[in-house]
């Protein structure tokens, strides 16, 4: 019976061998066929399909910031001494660690969750409710985790880019993320004055970044969108995304977009070579499996 099953297995492996050979031929042929290249404009339309509405909301938010948030923030910056601002910043950052730890666990980052818990305990006790960042001196760096990143780790796609009134830039995945983070942040339950101070503190801390955008951006909407999406993607992948490959794609984009077919053929050939290498590897592995099964079968026969 066992010998019969092994025979069937060997037969299947034999078919698998043929299948690998056929798939190899198919991959090489399909690899050589011209592949449609998604150009920059198509990618942008996919990422930001509501650009027209988003731009209007962006302008509205900008006015709101210029005429309301910025003057209040400037007054706060002027009145509050630096050590008070630092203490308030540390206090809110420490409270946010409840949310960070929760998301560490949801992302199965148990070692990091232990470190972040240590950070919370140290700063809440020795750091006088988080006013002083004692944990940093002990080598416990602040980590940045939220529910949007957790959803990304779980494989939820980012969805289209959105600009919401008052809230600002987000992705569709970031909407439930922000709701969850608000629900798990203790600041949400302390009371309106503390929440207002939290918003004011956040605006004051964003001053440098907003000034940088004002100075550097030729188109502030696009500058914000690109920076925001890249920053979020980098956080979601813990800086381990396919960034290096992306650079190469960017570098060769001019070649891909040029009218000459030679660069296109070259890239197509490179892609085909990679697929070919992978297929060869799988094929060789299958042959090895087959040989092992064959020798086992022979041993059984003996």
């Amino acid at each position: 019976m066992t010998a019969y099953l092994l025979n069937l297995f060997a037969l299947w492996l034999g078919k698998k061998r043929v299948f690998y050979f056929l798939s190899l031929v198919f991959v090489v042929i399909s690899g050589c066929a011209s592949q449609p290249v998604l150009d920059h404009n198509s990618m942008v339309k996919k990422t930001d399909p509501y650009e027209n509405i988003n731009r209007k909301v962006f302008v509205f938010n900008d006015y709101l910031d210029e005429y309301l948030a910025e003057p209040i923030s400037n007054a706060y910056q002027y009145v509050a001494p630096q050590f008070v601002k630092n203490s308030i910043f540390n206090f809110y950052t420490n409270l946010r660690n409840f949310n960070v730890i929760f998301n560490d666990v949801l992302q199965a980052k148990f070692k990091q969750s232990a470190k972040d818990s240590g950070r919370l305990v140290v700063n809440t006790s020795l750091g006088l409710l988080g006013i002083f960042d004692v944990a940093k001196d002990l080598g416990l760096e602040q980590n940045d985790e939220d529910f949007d990143q957790t959803l990304a780790v779980w494989g939820v796609p980012e969805g289209p880019y959105l600009v919401l009134p008052i809230v600002g830039p987000l992705t569709l995945r970031g909407v439930p993320g922000a709701m969850f983070d608000t629900a798990t942040n203790p600041t949400s339950y302390i009371g309106a004055p503390i929440q207002l101070l939290s918003i004011l503190n956040a605006r004051a801390n964003a001053e440098g970044a907003l000034k940088f955008i004002d100075e550097a951006a030729l188109d502030p909407y696009l500058f914000t969108r690109e920076s925001f999406l890249q920053w979020r993607r980098n956080l979601s992948s813990d800086g381990k995304g396919n960034q290096s490959l992306d650079f190469d794609e960017e570098l060769d984009e001019s070649a891909l977009n040029s009218t000459s077919t030679l660069p296109k053929l070259r890239n197509s050939f490179k892609a085909s070579s990679l697929v070919f290498d992978k297929t060869i590897y799988h094929f060789e592995k299958a042959v090895e499996d087959y040989r092992q099964a064959e020798s086992k079968l022979n041993r059984f026969k003996k």
Binding site: D39, H40, N41, V44, Q142, F212, E215, A216, A217, L218, D219, L222, F223, R225, E226, S227, Q230, W231, R233, N234, L235, G239, G241, Q243, S244, L245, D246, F247, D248, E250, L251, D252, E253, S254, N257, S258, T259, K270
Partner: protein
């Protein structure tokens, strides 16, 4: 006898020139990045004395030598490059080069104990190198700087800088192609020049 001495001296100078050129060619991607970072820190340390124009002068050569600004411009404008006349391409490269130096001179204006630390180096699939480093800022969070370099005519040149995961090239590409497509070449040049003026006044 004198002729022999002159010949010998000429030979020595020639050897020195050849050696210097070879040494320059042998600079690795990491050395190019570290050399540039060192010059940036020097300009920051003298930042207040030099003022904006002094920093601009001090950084012009280091930026031009270590960055492939022409290639950066070509990537940033993508397929729009082909639609520009030779004159427009030259104007764009010149304006962009001035803007790049101005941006460094403006954003790295003073020194308060910052230092660059090399982290690692990796080769990319298409023959490039990424040098990972970070800028240590006292009493603040470090900023991660990743430099993407390509070997061009025997020299490693910076093509892209990624700060905390945000690619400068990708941000610029999005802006520049959009402006070129919707507002045209003159509007793009006017906007870049406007930024250079803003940088020079602050």
């Amino acid at each position: 006898m004198l002729l022999t001495k002159v010949k010998f001296l000429y030979l020595c100078v020639l050897c020195l020139v050849v050696f210097t050129v070879s040494a320059q060619e042998l600079l690795t991607a990491r050395q190019v990045v570290e050399g540039f970072q060192s010059q940036l820190l020097t300009a920051m340390k003298k930042g207040k004395q030099l003022g904006y124009s002094g920093r601009y002068e001090a950084l012009y050569e280091p930026v031009s030598d270590t960055h492939d600004l022409t290639k950066i411009v070509r990537i940033v404008v993508g397929k729009e490059w082909e639609g520009l006349s030779k004159e427009q391409q030259d104007i764009l490269v010149t304006t962009f080069s001035k803007y790049s130096v101005a941006s460094y001179a403006h954003n790295f204006k003073e020194y308060s104990g910052e230092s660059f630390v090399f982290d690692s180096e990796e080769e990319t699939a298409r023959g490039g190198v990424v040098v990972h480093s970070h800028l240590v800022i006292p009493n603040d969070k470090a900023v991660k700087f990743d430099y993407n370099l390509k070997e061009i005519a025997g020299h490693w040149k910076i093509i892209n800088i990624i700060a905390n995961g945000v690619s400068d090239l990708a941000v610029k590409r999005s802006e520049y192609t959009n402006i070129l497509q919707h507002e045209g070449f003159d509007a793009l040049i006017a906007k870049i020049n406007e930024k250079i003026t803003i940088y020079s006044k602050q």
